[in-house]
Symmetry: C2
Subunit: 328 residues, 2 copies
């Protein structure tokens, strides 16, 4: 890396505009950031790390995409709580093999997504790494007091829903691993790759869901099987998914019709939301046109905390065998 000075680098990545000017007292440039919380709002906070060679490689992601995704996965966690993201901090450990231009691209990728969600970069840390690049993003958001959407909110009789097609990201990753990101792809493949490289955090739907009476919610980072199991465990209910109802994109089916359902269940990194709400609420939003992009994929019943999958005429138990870093 050609960076001469941590301080000059920080000046380069310091944002030039502030979205939350009235409440942000101090951003980058002091020991810590200071902001004034909005009245009657709970604070939501999460942190996620991406590590080179574990979560991405130079073959699968450009520096811009790494930055974009590192922020996206965290904003997705805020969305899964029904929250509105406001601020973020970035800790980055940089090996000498990365150029200054690469680093600026990483921050440009974060900045693009940050601007579209009106999220301000307010702090972080920049350190050296011996080997791999590692990027840890922390996002702070808010939601109305008592309105957070927990995994434990599911009840017997609920409808299980997702917010979009599942399995695309996993198929995109497979393509990237086989051909590299500079390979030649048809338009279906290109769609799947973009789904892997540019996850779209579902903040708008999360905010809509936070206005409903009772919603359990999780974002799909580790595959539908794993995330559904987390809902079942946290709520102590049985979740039954119907394989025929799980939404698969035409692009996924066209590229990999046989493997599509497995990718949806175990692939991960789709960053759509999976959740539950009461049948009454479901019917009400269906009737009044507020259904948005929600797709019903199953039901909740009382019973032992597990996830069952209706697959043709078979009912199988769906293990929590999604993406688990230690098992990779």
């Amino acid at each position: 890396m050609s960076i001469q000075d941590e301080f000059s680098f920080i000046n380069q990545i310091k944002p030039t505009t502030v979205h939350h000017e009235k409440t942000l007292i101090t951003g980058i440039g002091d020991d810590a950031a200071v902001y004034i919380p909005s009245p009657n709002q709970s604070q939501i906070i999460c942190t996620d790390t991406l590590v080179e060679e574990i979560h991405f490689t130079s073959q699968t992601m450009s520096p811009f995409q790494i930055g974009y995704k590192a922020l996206a996965v965290n904003i997705s966690d805020i969305a899964a709580m029904g929250g509105n993201p406001l601020y973020y901090l970035v800790s980055i450990a940089i090996p000498s093999s990365w150029s200054e231009q690469d680093l600026i691209e990483i921050y440009a990728g974060m900045s693009e997504l940050a601007n579209s969600h009106r999220v301000d970069l307010i702090g972080g840390d920049t350190v050296s790494s011996k080997d791999s690049l590692m990027i840890t993003v922390t996002v702070i958001g808010e939601t109305e007091e008592g309105r957070q959407l927990l995994r434990s909110h599911a009840k017997s009789g609920d409808v299980v829903f997702v917010t979009g097609t599942i399995g695309d990201s996993s198929a995109g990753l497979e393509l990237l691993l086989s051909k590299g990101r500079h390979g030649t792809f048809n338009s279906n493949e290109d769609f799947l790759i973009k789904r892997h490289q540019y996850p779209n955090p579902q903040v708008k739907i999360g905010r809509f869901l936070s206005k409903l009476k009772r919603v359990s919610l999780n974002d799909i980072s580790d595959g539908l099987a794993s995330e559904s199991n987390e809902l079942a465990e946290a709520s102590q209910v049985t979740i039954t998914l119907n394989a025929n109802l799980i939404p698969l994109s035409k692009e996924l089916v066209s590229c990999d019709s046989e493997g599509a359902i497995e990718k949806a269940l175990f692939g991960g990194e789709d960053f759509e939301l999976v959740g539950t709400m009461s049948m009454d609420e479901w019917e009400s939003i269906q009737q009044d046109g507020r259904l948005q992009n929600l797709i019903k994929i199953g039901t909740v019943s009382s019973g032992k905390p597990e996830v069952l999958l209706q697959l043709e005429n078979e009912l199988i138990t769906l293990e929590k065998k999604g993406y688990n870093h230690f098992k990779k």
Copy 2:
């Protein structure tokens, strides 16, 4: 590492007691943590990363000490804003060479310091690393609205102070690098080593300072020279330090009388505080016995933003050449 499952590991390090039970809605175990901020308080947030082979090695720090220090350096940033630390999140990237017992020790080290400051672990991320262990801690604190102690608050006529002896940590590190942490040390050396391994965040003094009229403040992570320069730059003032007034521990002088002042100026990682306040305020707290452990080391004057050091009969310019990761 012998960890079979990320989920079971998280269960092991999940805190069993909660210090902020009334305001913490959701800690570890959902997509994000949720808490209710205290009325009329600003939120303070910071994040710092420690990387194996860069910030510590197995020769200099035990797993317990690594955890303790990773949290301490962040609580110190909250202290440097005059804040009260409340919550923390931990992202850790773990190479396979680390045992599960080592990891549990890291969290035990954090937990010990967290309990003494009544800070709750509320979230984080656990990922694999190819090579080095990396640990990123994020701490959230609060301070009364408008009371944060910024670096930009210094004014001409101010007294410059520190909260304790400087240079000890750097001397301790030197000893550790030469003999290793299992070496034999005399009691003076042992004091210096502890100062390196167990930094003591000055939250109590930071809180006291936040009640005064106007205080500029910085924590000493990168050496007194670098931190004083940050105050001078942020406040656009000249800071003059008197070398004879810089407090050196008897242990440091006894181990390294010649190198002591250089360690104090450029060594770093003392995690004492350096700041300024008006002469009037200084005299007032001195008279009414509220001086606490503050030690006067210099004065602030108008002029170009720089730091001068009065050294015997010489006045030299003190460059910002403290600990800078990229220059190491």
